[in-house]
Symmetry: C2
Subunit: 251 residues, 2 copies
């Protein structure tokens, strides 16, 4: 979590051309408020890039209001579509910066200028995956039908039901209140419990896959995704029952 002062101090000292940050951190379950970062970056005219891979579709990603220049995401998390696509947006400011480049982009595959010309429809770049586009279209249609606000509220309701269940199971959350991703919850593994055993039990007995922590958090947290159609109280209730059993079996 970065506050304005911290980012401002960094930006003043390093004068970066770009400030990049992760909006919703999949490995910890922490949600970063973009505004303190983008405000500090803007004061020195740095571009801002948000990794919205886990946030899009679950919490607001209001790029203009949040003053984010570039955001990218994925299709298989909050949008609940098959994986394979990376939704992407760039502000006018970012495009101007791109167009002012003096050196060519070294990678044809990742050259945003060529991709922009392709997007505008006048210059071939690659063969797009029509199948995945249809899938994305359908997932966006479902989101539109539900309404963004309703969707966010549903994710929050599922989150609170999950939190209540964790409390009843005696679990503590890794991330402090106010900084949690509603649809990716990271309770701490209780003292003396082997997280691998819990996850194996869930997967093999109930066909439910949750993730463990990695790096410094290996064995310390569970990572429990509850996104898109799964973010509802019925799923939460079912999951909590099985999770409780798995914890007991592994204790």
């Amino acid at each position: 979590m970065f506050g304005y002062d911290e980012v401002a101090e960094f930006v003043q000292r390093e004068k970066p051309a770009v400030v990049a940050f992760v909006h919703a951190e999949t490995s910890t379950g922490a949600l970063q408020d973009p505004r303190p970062i983008t405000k500090a970056a803007r004061e020195l005219d740095a571009l801002t890039i948000a990794d919205a891979v886990t946030s899009l579709g679950g919490v607001p990603v209001s790029v203009d209001e949040m003053d984010i220049d570039i955001a990218y995401s994925c299709s298989q998390k909050g949008l609940s579509c098959p994986p394979g696509l990376a939704p992407f947006t760039a502000s006018r400011r970012a495009v101007e910066r791109l167009n002012a480049r003096k050196t060519p982009v070294p990678e044809w595959y990742l050259d945003l200028r060529l991709l922009g010309e392709y997007f505008d429809g006048h210059k071939y770049h690659h063969t797009a995956s029509a199948t995945l586009f249809y899938a994305l279209h359908e997932s966006l249609r479902l989101i539109h039908e539900e309404g963004l606000e309703n969707r966010f509220a549903r994710h929050r309701r599922a989150h609170h039901a999950l939190l209540q269940g964790f409390e009843e199971l005696g679990l503590r959350m890794h991330v402090a209140e106010g900084y949690r991703i509603p649809h990716l919850n990271t309770p701490r593994v209780p003292e003396g419990v082997d997280d691998l055993k819990v996850r194996k039990h869930l997967l093999e007995k109930d066909g439910i896959e949750i993730a463990g922590g990695f790096g410094p958090l290996a064995g310390k947290i569970f990572r429990i995704g509850m996104m898109g159609p799964m973010a509802n109280e019925e799923c939460v209730k079912m999951f909590l029952g099985r999770f409780g059993e798995a914890l007991q079996a592994a204790a």
Copy 2:
């Protein structure tokens, strides 16, 4: 089309680390025999890279026998699967060259070493598109069921039926005999015929899409793909009837 002498002379003069070539050229309809190129390249220990985008699944791509180090292709042509995947192969020699790199690969996304570790299953790189993998698996299953040799022979039969039809329509082929891609045929646009009119007629009246030439070949050739399940005499017969009508309408 490159012969051995031509490539050998080039390789001796330029001493390239890598010789890359297009196996089946989509823009012209020409099939390049890889052997003269790879033989000359090997004599100077250059790696060989084959663009097998249009060839794989329609004609043999025997990388070992053809002495190709790296070949890449696509899923949506000869394999008849939805687009979005790029099948890829690298020889032991290419992998050794990669592992001997002194500078890191600048692009994380395209770093073959990271992709190799991901492929081996021990290090996460990206979320693969499971949907497309299932589709590719099914298309490979269908190819296996038919048998590669049968499949190639079927493409050749469709090709010869198409050639006969073109002759009856008075069309000449852009590519000389012996150098043609069986499943991507490029007859010349007859004198005085507007190729766009022909293609528009076919698309709007019959729902058949064929491509035109581009660059120096714009307006000069048609590019007619007949791949995978479409490479059969019934499709050819149907197509030739509609194509004849479209040519007549546009004359």
